[in-house]
Symmetry: C2
Subunit: 414 residues, 2 copies
């Protein structure tokens, strides 16, 4: 078993020598990455270096191309300090958000600013080489449009819709994409992007990272990001860091039991949250309501749709005031809330962010989730708890994927 902190050594193959640095240099870069711009005095305070040593080290880092000097900071009496920041032109980062049927890619500078963005409909249930060839072609196209050479790509962060052994950077027993089991995505990209450091993580973890990097999760120490769509999963932030657990599988809440007498789940157990409350369960219950006559509207929509109902249809019916649709959505919210209530007692987060395809279901779902959590969690755990839909748009995954690789890019050598 590999400790997640060893990811640098394990997931990444040859490390761009450009970025090699010692512990104290890494600390400077880390501060720059977080604060954007800092002064020489800040660096002196941070490192304990003398003024002379600070000047010398800055010169080295500037010569290496890692830092650039920018404008002038606010004077606090005396000479205006020159500020330093990471050289955004140092190279580029790629964020890849691989969904079951969709692919999102972004090209960003090392500061994390997105400069190129693509989306495509691609089915992940094919051989990984085939899928990744398409990804590679898209990345090369975007790089070319940006005037970026392949070896200027310093990092590729990737989110995948399945359990990841984070230490090794491979999928383990992924139900959606069995052909990808143990396939090393980093190795695939290495020849085309020789300078790139590749980090692979679960898709919900990168959403949590995206929320933390650019959403309402910024600065929050303990939160849970819940993705509700075809499946249900979560990304956990403890003490400001993604908690991946001992084997990288933390956050897999879709298979927590809601009802021992419930339906059989694809995992083999009965009454899993995912089997009872996620998109497919919503569709099934709606089709039942359409067939058994409890909702004429759903029946009508099902006929128009050629005999099926998607979760979006249930949502649309709910907006039209259909009671059966409302009950179905509320029931899902209540089951999700019941599971979250237990996790709130256990984990005591200050925020729960809800994202994924189901977020445009609006307030009925959210209210049902909140009610169930408030009813079942202990007062001490809910007094300061906020449960909201994520306000990040479709860039959340790529933003998180870029933040993921950025986090490991500037690390001191072991």
């Amino acid at each position: 078993m590999v400790h997640p902190d060893q990811v640098v050594a394990q997931q990444a193959r040859p490390r761009p020598t450009l970025l090699s640095m010692n512990g104290v240099e890494a600390k400077v870069i880390e501060a720059l990455r977080k604060q954007g711009e800092i002064s020489r005095t800040d660096i002196t305070n941070l490192t304990g270096w003398s003024k002379a040593k600070t000047s010398q080290k800055i010169r080295e880092l500037v010569n290496k191309g890692l830092l650039v000097e920018v404008g002038e900071g606010a004077s606090q009496g005396g000479r205006r300090p020159r500020l330093l920041r990471i050289n955004d032109r140092l190279g580029y980062l790629v964020g890849l958000d691989i969904g079951a049927t969709s692919l999102d890619i972004a090209l960003a500078d090392v500061g994390g600013k997105i400069c190129q963005r693509r989306s495509a409909l691609v089915d992940v249930r094919q051989a990984p080489e085939e899928y990744l060839k398409d990804c590679r072609a898209l990345i090369l196209e975007m790089a070319s449009a940006q005037g970026c050479l392949p070896d200027q790509i310093l990092g590729i962060g990737i989110g995948v819709p399945g359990p990841v052994d984070f230490g090794r950077g491979v999928l383990v027993a992924p139900p959606l994409m069995p052909d990808w089991e143990n396939y090393h995505i980093g190795d695939f990209f290495q020849p085309a992007f020789p300078s790139a450091f590749v980090v692979v993580d679960n898709d919900v973890n990168i959403m949590a990272l995206g929320e933390q990097r650019a959403g309402d999760g910024a600065g929050i120490d303990h939160f849970i990001f819940v993705k509700i769509g075809t499946g249900i999963g979560s990304g956990i932030v403890s003490n400001g860091k993604i908690h991946r657990g001992s084997y990288g599988s933390a956050g897999d809440i879709g298979h927590i039991c809601v009802d021992k007498q419930g339906p059989i789940c694809r995992c083999g157990n009965t009454g899993c949250l995912e089997a009872m409350a996620a998109g497919p369960a919503i569709s099934e219950k709606a089709m039942l309501a359409a067939k058994n006559g409890s909702s004429p509207l759903l029946r009508q929509m099902m006929e128009v749709n050629g005999g099926v109902l998607r979760p979006e249809d249930v949502n649309a019916a709910c907006r039209e005031g259909d009671q059966a649709a409302l009950d179905i959505i509320r029931a899902s919210g209540e089951m999700i809330g019941d599971v979250l209530a237990g996790l709130v007692n256990f984990f005591n987060p200050s925020h729960i962010f809800i994202g994924g395809g189901i977020t445009n279901f609006g307030n009925h779902l959210l209210v049902a989730i909140r009610r169930a959590v408030l009813r079942r969690s202990l007062p001490l755990a809910t007094t300061h708890l906020a449960i909201n839909f994520s306000r990040m748009g479709p860039d959340i995954g790529v933003t998180g994927a870029i933040a993921l690789v950025n986090e490991y890019l500037f690390q001191p050598e072991a």
Copy 2:
């Protein structure tokens, strides 16, 4: 809301000036605390100080009484290095493990070695001043026996059986000890022990710390310590640190719902794990089995006991081969395991340690817990999961309480 890391500023009142130090000094002390003894070369490597600066700093720390030089390390060619360690004589630490009806106290040196130990039967349901006066008298007695003056006590770590707002160091809505709500234990001890830094935490968190400090939890990054007794609670370790959550209430798993149709719990909800599987539930079910004739042995024991059965009696009956007693214990184990299964999916620990009064129930309980977890958790989360009884004896709480205060004692000034 106070971030747990601010505990130094919040929980502790005047900080012993003796221990004031800057960030790099604190780093040296931290390494010494973890490794016991280190060489000058280790310190040079750790701090980046020059040899001259290292020598000067060590001289300062030795003069302050923080460090002492000891023996000689193994030579790696050249002069044998002199080793340094924390001066154990610097002062003493007190660990207090406050139970519902029992009190455990230990006096230790700053290295954490216990030199005096007391236990007493005291009921916590009295006014805090009265209770703490007894504690203070015991501590003074132990200190005197050790030849330690009150102001040589540098830290007091305290575990209490109720929810703690860790940032403020006070109990919040503690069901067992309502008079203690918002009572500042640190303030009580300050006049008697003017140099002592006082840290208060939940009793299960200090058990988890004890397991980490001196038990099988040493070096384990992600584990859950579950205490089963009159109540059920847990202490969580994430990335090697206690996860207390945003309000300090993390780990409260006793009120996770097992059965919505279950009995009403003292928290007001129905079907909480604690109400269905902890000691009192075991007693109640056994008394029912005694009364309804399903266990002649339990009936007989109940008559001998004056009309009541304690969990220990159920355990004794089980050892005699009583089927009803066995079923009751297995049912508790299964419910605990069902809840843990969900938490294993969510948190992905590598170890679960089970402690508390129920641990002498032996393997029937443990096997039932393990079975339920293995049946309900995902394979990726259980492949490397070990579930065992804690092997720490009755010192686990005081050991953890001492580790707790020790952790915050040598911290750089803000």
